[in-house]
Symmetry: none
Amino acid sequence: MRSIEYSQKDILIFNGVINLIKGGANPYLITVSEIAASAGVGKGTIYDYFESKEEVIKKAILFNFNNEIDYFYKKIATKKGFKEKYYEIFNSIVENLQNKFSTVNILMTLGKLPEFHISEKQDSCEFNKHILRIQAIIDDLLVSGYKEGIIKKIESQYYQNMVIKSSLFSFTNYMSMQMIYKETSVKEAMDAAYKIVIKSLN
Amino acid sequence: MRSIEYSQKDILIFNGVINLIKGGANPYLITVSEIAASAGVGKGTIYDYFESKEEVIKKAILFNFNNEIDYFYKKIATKKGFKEKYYEIFNSIVENLQNKFSTVNILMTLGKLPEFHISEKQDSCEFNKHILRIQAIIDDLLVSGYKEGIIKKIESQYYQNMVIKSSLFSFTNYMSMQMIYKETSVKEAMDAAYKIVIKSLN
Amino acid sequence: MRSIEYSQKDILIFNGVINLIKGGANPYLITVSEIAASAGVGKGTIYDYFESKEEVIKKAILFNFNNEIDYFYKKIATKKGFKEKYYEIFNSIVENLQNKFSTVNILMTLGKLPEFHISEKQDSCEFNKHILRIQAIIDDLLVSGYKEGIIKKIESQYYQNMVIKSSLFSFTNYMSMQMIYKETSVKEAMDAAYKIVIKSLN
Amino acid sequence: MRSIEYSQKDILIFNGVINLIKGGANPYLITVSEIAASAGVGKGTIYDYFESKEEVIKKAILFNFNNEIDYFYKKIATKKGFKEKYYEIFNSIVENLQNKFSTVNILMTLGKLPEFHISEKQDSCEFNKHILRIQAIIDDLLVSGYKEGIIKKIESQYYQNMVIKSSLFSFTNYMSMQMIYKETSVKEAMDAAYKIVIKSLN
DNA sequence: TATGAATGAGTTTTCATTCAT
DNA sequence: AATGAATGAAAACTCATTCAT
């Protein structure tokens, strides 16, 4: 379960990348100079800690995913009931919306994003860890649902999973495309997403 | 309703781009030389028809969206019943899956993809047209559902919309992440997605 | 004395070049497309009549020089007295000023301009012809001066020549740098240039 | 009075450009590769110090003008009498003749040369400084002439100015067109130019 | 004969990476 | 250990020239 341990300098550089991306930069178009400036280090320093630009950006994104999932997980764990947990996720999504490469995006595309050359074995492994952690969040949610009798019929594991993901997708889609859903309020979007779960799993 | 008219050479070049992307190339990393080679024209020719590399790629992607939506729309129109239409969409998704920038992706991310600098007015307008056409497909589907009494309760327009999108998302997600859903067959994934609609809209 | 004979199409193309230059274009930066457009012919046509872009521009400039010197010569010949001829030259310079590659410029730089690769023998020969024709104008002027007793002392041929050129230079310089000679009127500049001749050759 | 301060690398690159031009290259046809090779730096280095090829060449020419005028000014200042100063200018012109873009050329065309797109304000300002410095040289010369009583009659400022410029033009023209003045020696050309001043300003 | 679409050689420019300090 | 100046390979882009029509 232990993640790769990163040095303070590693993290400093990651934050440089993350801030660029959160500021709207396209990961594919970021330059080393930009990273160095954003991280407040020299360009050469980056090569003292990483092999290539690709590696820095890839690892920075994965590092950020990890952190955001942690944060997400903890926030949801503080809530007790199914509905409270669910709406806590909605709130996190709202909070997270600015970040183009945020956990929100993981949940939405569920793994489509880190296409940043997931070729090597190590990356693929890292990536799988993320999927498992997202799965854990969903499982936690489902367990709460069972306990409270909100999720009654015992559908297949796959179906239950997909209902949750789909429902969350619907809210994420609302948030990221708000401009085309002008007549719907955030509250209504949350309620609609929640209704999808309730009806589908009942 | 009429889209921008393109010359044969424009389309030849677009196909060069589209084939690269379908072959797995990242739109942000494609070079002009690659486009030229893929289209079977000289590098200079591309600049006789377009202002810049960015313009070619952006327009090629939008052109392809347009075509795929057309194809999608026509395929679905051939089917009569709600369920048949729905499963026709599933089939199209299966068919389409190779294309990273396919209609499937539009439907899934519903507009998140063409982030390829949709800043200028013209692009934004083009983009809106796509959203409207996707909406038309969804509306067509809903109408069939009403007629057949499959969609009974009159929920909000927004909710109905989101149910369809979420359900389609679930199948698209299955297809694009098949490696993590090894115990679930394509048929089961379709049925699960269909069940989400039926339960949510009933 | 007979100049190269040019076809109508040659001349059409030359005028394309000349118009571009008179419009402020830099001869070194003119493109074949621009010439074709300016001449109202196809790009290919230019290559039916000339070997290369360089050749077209070079010949066009020389052709224009020739024409302008002709015109110049004729205008001056219409005047009888030394002073009238001299002021006629001034008037021609004023008239000519817009044209960056005008006879004015020949007179001013006296041959420095057609540096447009005067390497081949033929060009060099063409170029010499121009110098001779300018010389003829100056000689004609000097003869008038002798006849009228304005040019008294018999200085060396070289000196007399240079006095005329220098004096004309002074006026040309005034015209082309008018912005730095704001307190001096055109009339005063002409008179000053004339005074230089009178005093130097007296 | 202080000019833009340039770094050592800037100057290294400028010298690359200047050497090419002094070697006969046409400023409009110089390539970045040539500049890099001539300056002994990598192509990329040029872009670390300048925005574009145009900027390098333009600034290099202005830089060179500045230096040559300095040199010119100092050389003339070492001489005391009017005639000695005047002949010192002639000597500088002889010395300078190789350089196509030398001070000689400034003096001759008096500002026509840096047509290298002097459009922006900063360039225009730089350029004005050059004109003022040339003017200072001429003024210095005129003062010497007054003191020695060589320049007697008090003609207009403009006239005196133009006499000097015209006279210098005559010698510069001799030097740059020596091939057409084969019967005249350098000494004779100097004497003729000097005679123009003496007679015109007396 | 006249054309302009097509080309690719040759430019300008960028930027990941290195390495002397 | 940290830097950023320097580099050149590789990219975008231009345009003289060709050639099928």
